[in-house]
Each structure stands twice: as structure tokens, then as C-alpha cells.
């Protein structure tokens, strides 16, 4: 028993030490460098725009979990829900030539892409679902992204733990053919727990990048000064901005 206590004590000293190192600035710099290395390695491995794996219908998960926010507890959202989101608008703005307000009817009138893909949560589980919606690339082309813009920002209607949810990606991911604004899951209108009426699908990255309850898209030059400045709700809480790993 004493030996076990000794082992536990050794392990605890190690974990406490690592916790302190983990909070240091040097460690943060190393972690950021590793994140950049992953992103560049992934892009180098697959060529310019590899597609995330797509599955047959038979692979679809019987139940697609809603994680994080699974509802938006505001009167405005309840009213949208009651009217079938007929008045919901997706604002496209920021550093674009032609800002737009798109309704669900506008979005469904665009050419649609349907893809059966795997959703990988950072926690470790995976679910497969069929998503339908217009590609983000052509919407951004119509809006005319200005050359100084480097990121696309996604604003959401939900609060998680009292803070607004948001996300961002680089232009390579925004213009990727599988990056769509989904309004259907498995052929039905997007359920509330999965982000009704609109959610981003950013295949090739983890689940927290796929912003739900999508209300606005902005082209920006920098992520500083937005939310906590790290490019997303979970990024502000320590998670990697490049979530391809």
C-alpha cells in the first residue's frame, strides 16, 4: 500500500508539474507551432482540396446527437420556430463588395449539395449524417470578398454558458466544395438540437467548428477583437483554431 502511495505521489508531482508548464508562455508558443505544423502537413498530404470521405445511406447514424447548445432560449427564436423560420435572415457582410440578407427561400433556390459525412466530436465520438445546403464558396463570390479579407467569421444566434457562440475559418476552407450552409439533415429540415434553421458544415475539421443557429457570415482581415480574439467560442476556451486533428 505504501508503494502504491509512492507511485501515486510521483505521478501527482509529474501531473502538477506538467500543469504548471502547460500554463507557461513558452509552452503556448510550442503548441501554436504544432498547430500550424498540423495544418500545413494536412494540406501537403492531400494536395489542394481533398474531400472528406462520403458514405452510403446505409451508414447514417440512427440518432444524430446535438452537442453544446441544443436550443436557443429567446422569444425571438421561439417566434422564428413557430413561423417555420420564414423570416430568418442570414446576413453576409464584413469585407465584401455587396452585403446581402439571405432568407431560407433564397438559400434553397441556390444550387444544392447533399453529402453524407462523418461528424467527429473533439470528445471522441462520431456520427454520420446526410447534409443538404448551398456551398458557401459561390455565396461569398456573389458577395465579392475583398482582397484584404483573410478569414470568414460565423455568428450564431445561441448563447453557450452566457457567451455568444461563433466560429471562423480561413478562405481555403470557406471555398472548399464540401463547405455548405446546411438546412437539412437526413432529408428533413434541420432539427433544433442540430442548429435549426442553418448550420455550417466544415468537413475535415472537428465538430465545434460546425457553427449552429447561423445568423451572420462576415469576411474579416483579423480575428483580434472578436469575442476572446482566438477565432471561436471553444478556441477562446483553449481549444485549437485549426481543428483538423
Amino acid at each position: 500500500m505504501r508503494r502504491r502511495n509512492l507511485l501515486a505521489g510521483l505521478a501527482a508531482t509529474l501531473t502538477a508539474g506538467c500543469t504548471r508548464i502547460g500554463q507557461s508562455e513558452t509552452f503556448g508558443t510550442l503548441v501554436d507551432a504544432a498547430e500550424g505544423l498540423h495544418r500545413r502537413a494536412h494540406r501537403a498530404m492531400g494536395g489542394p482540396a481533398p474531400l472528406a470521405r462520403e458514405y452510403p445511406r446505409s451508414a447514417i447514424s440512427p440518432f444524430f446527437r446535438g452537442n453544446g447548445s441544443i436550443d436557443v432560449a429567446t422569444d425571438a427564436y421561439r417566434a422564428h420556430q413557430a413561423s417555420g423560420f420564414a423570416d430568418w435572415r442570414l446576413a453576409v457582410g464584413g469585407m465584401v463588395e455587396r452585403p446581402m440578407q439571405l432568407s431560407l427561400a433564397d438559400l434553397t433556390a441556390l444550387p444544392q449539395r447533399t453529402q453524407i459525412t462523418r461528424h467527429d466530436c473533439v470528445e471522441g465520438w462520431s456520427a454520420i449524417g446526410e447534409w443538404t445546403g448551398p456551398q458557401l464558396g459561390p455565396i461569398l463570390e456573389r458577395a465579392g470578398v475583398r482582397p484584404e479579407a483573410r478569414y470568414i467569421l460565423f455568428r450564431c444566434a445561441d448563447l453557450l454558458g452566457g457567451a455568444p457562440y461563433y466560429e471562423s475559418c480561413d478562405l481555403a476552407d470557406a471555398f472548399h466544395p464540401q463547405t455548405i450552409i446546411a438546412h437539412r439533415l437526413n432529408g428533413d429540415p434541420l432539427p433544433v438540437q442540430n442548429g435549426a434553421p442553418l448550420r455550417l458544415r466544415l468537413e475535415r475539421q472537428l465538430g465545434y467548428k460546425h457553427a449552429k443557429y447561423l445568423a451572420g457570415i462576415e469576411a474579416v482581415a483579423s480575428l483580434e477583437g472578436i469575442g476572446g480574439g482566438k477565432g471561436g467560442y471553444w478556441e477562446d476556451r483553449g481549444y485549437q483554431w485549426y481543428a483538423g486533428i
Partner: protein, 225 residues
């Protein structure tokens, strides 16, 4: 004078030991985020799971409290240290003929009688190497670790990454899907724990000071092992 352990072997041994400890303990923190394992590509519900994993206590995890974000930082940073040092060691071990000289087994070593004799010698705590540097069981366990378990950790880790999966979909498919890769990652990690325990126990039983000193300074070839 030729050293018992080449400099590349010694450097890699200690870098690898540190990497494995950090990867294992941060991995336990990551496991706590969703302690269920599945086969195939998908899985979330208990009904789909083949294993429910107990939650690991915080004195055993990096960092020393539940933090998936910080644990992932440690894990994917040391994944580079682990994978690149293994690659460099393997190149060095091919060039200095460490693999060819010390790890390759001969047909006669695989005879049941010879294996039985080796097992009996181990049980009597007699670690005779029969002229070579390593005995058969040593070669076998080092071979399984170097060429199966360690590469499997890297490949299954890569297959879990959605970015790698988009670029190299064949890898995840070859491993049976993303959740199978995750399960194999978990199993192989405990396989490495099993090896490490055996490794340390055998070092303790076979003259720990000389063994550890040789792995630090290189030792001398004529030293008894």
C-alpha cells in the same frame, strides 16, 4: 571501443520514454472526455459501444484536472516528438546495423524447444544471451514494440484526425474506420504499458545500475548485460 548502446539509441530511448509518459497520461485525460469505445466508423450511444472505460483519476492525468483542451495540446505536441524521434532512430538503427545485428532472429531461435528453454531461463531469472546481445524473448518483445505497437500508435492517431482522413482516406479504411482506429489506439497504448512494466521489472532483476548507466553513457561491449 564500440559502445554497447549507440548514441542514437540512447538519445531515442530517453526521448521516447518521456514522450510515451506524456502521451499516455494526457491520453487518459482525453479518454475521460468520452469513455466509450466502438468498432467501425461511428459511435455515440452505450448500445453501440464494445467497451465502457473507467474514468482515470486526476493524479494519473496530464494536466492534473479534467481539461480536454490542455490535454490535447500536450498530446498533439508530443505526438510530433514521438513520431519524428522514432523515424530518426529507425534510420540510424538501419544505418548502424543495430536492427540487423541485434534484433533479427534466426530460424533456430523459433524452434519450440529453444523458445521453451528461453522461457524457463527467464523464470529462473537467468538472462543468458547465448553470445548475442539480446536473447530471443528480448528480440521478440522489442520487435513487437518497434515494428507493431509504436507504428500502430502513430497510424491510428493519424487516422482519427479529420484532416488526415480527408487527405489519406485509405488509412482510416484500412484500420476499419475512425472508431476502430480509436479503439486500437487505446488497446495498443495499454500494450505499451504492459511492455514498459515488464521492461522495468527485468531491468531491476538484471542489475539496474549497470543497465541504466549503459543506457546513459553507452557502456562497453564486454560488460555483462
Amino acid at each position: 571501443m564500440r559502445r554497447r548502446h549507440a548514441l542514437s539509441t540512447r538519445l531515442w530511448h530517453w526521448i521516447n520514454a518521456l514522450s510515451l509518459v506524456v502521451l499516455f497520461m494526457s491520453g487518459l485525460n482525453i479518454s475521460n472526455a468520452h469513455p466509450r469505445l466502438y468498432w467501425g466508423d461511428k459511435g455515440f450511444t452505450p448500445a453501440e459501444a464494445w467497451a465502457e472505460i473507467p474514468r482515470f483519476p486526476h493524479w494519473l492525468t496530464i494536466p492534473d484536472h479534467y481539461s480536454l483542451a490542455a490535454a490535447r495540446d500536450w498530446h498533439v505536441l508530443f505526438a510530433w516528438v514521438f513520431a519524428l524521434s522514432l523515424l530518426l532512430f529507425m534510420v540510424a538503427a538501419l544505418r548502424n546495423r543495430h536492427f540487423a545485428r541485434d534484433l533479427v532472429t534466426r530460424a533456430r531461435e523459433w524452434r519450440p524447444a529453444a523458445i521453451g528453454a528461453d522461457i524457463r531461463a527467464h523464470l529462473r531469472l537467468r538472462f543468458d544471451h547465448g553470445g548475442g546481445k539480446y536473447n530471443f524473448l528480448q528480440k521478440l518483445s522489442y520487435g513487437v514494440v518497434l515494428f507493431i505497437l509504436l507504428p500502430l500508435m502513430i497510424l491510428t492517431g493519424m487516422a482519427m484526425s479529420p484532416g488526415v482522413d480527408a487527405a489519406w482516406g485509405w488509412l482510416g479504411a484500412a484500420l476499419g474506420g475512425r472508431q476502430s482506429a480509436r479503439s486500437l489506439h487505446f488497446i495498443a497504448a495499454w500494450g505499451l504499458v504492459g511492455f514498459s512494466v515488464g521492461h522495468v521489472v527485468l531491468v531491476l532483476l538484471s542489475g539496474p545500475w549497470g543497465q541504466v548507466r549503459a543506457m546513459i553513457t553507452g557502456g562497453r561491449t564486454d560488460e555483462a548485460a
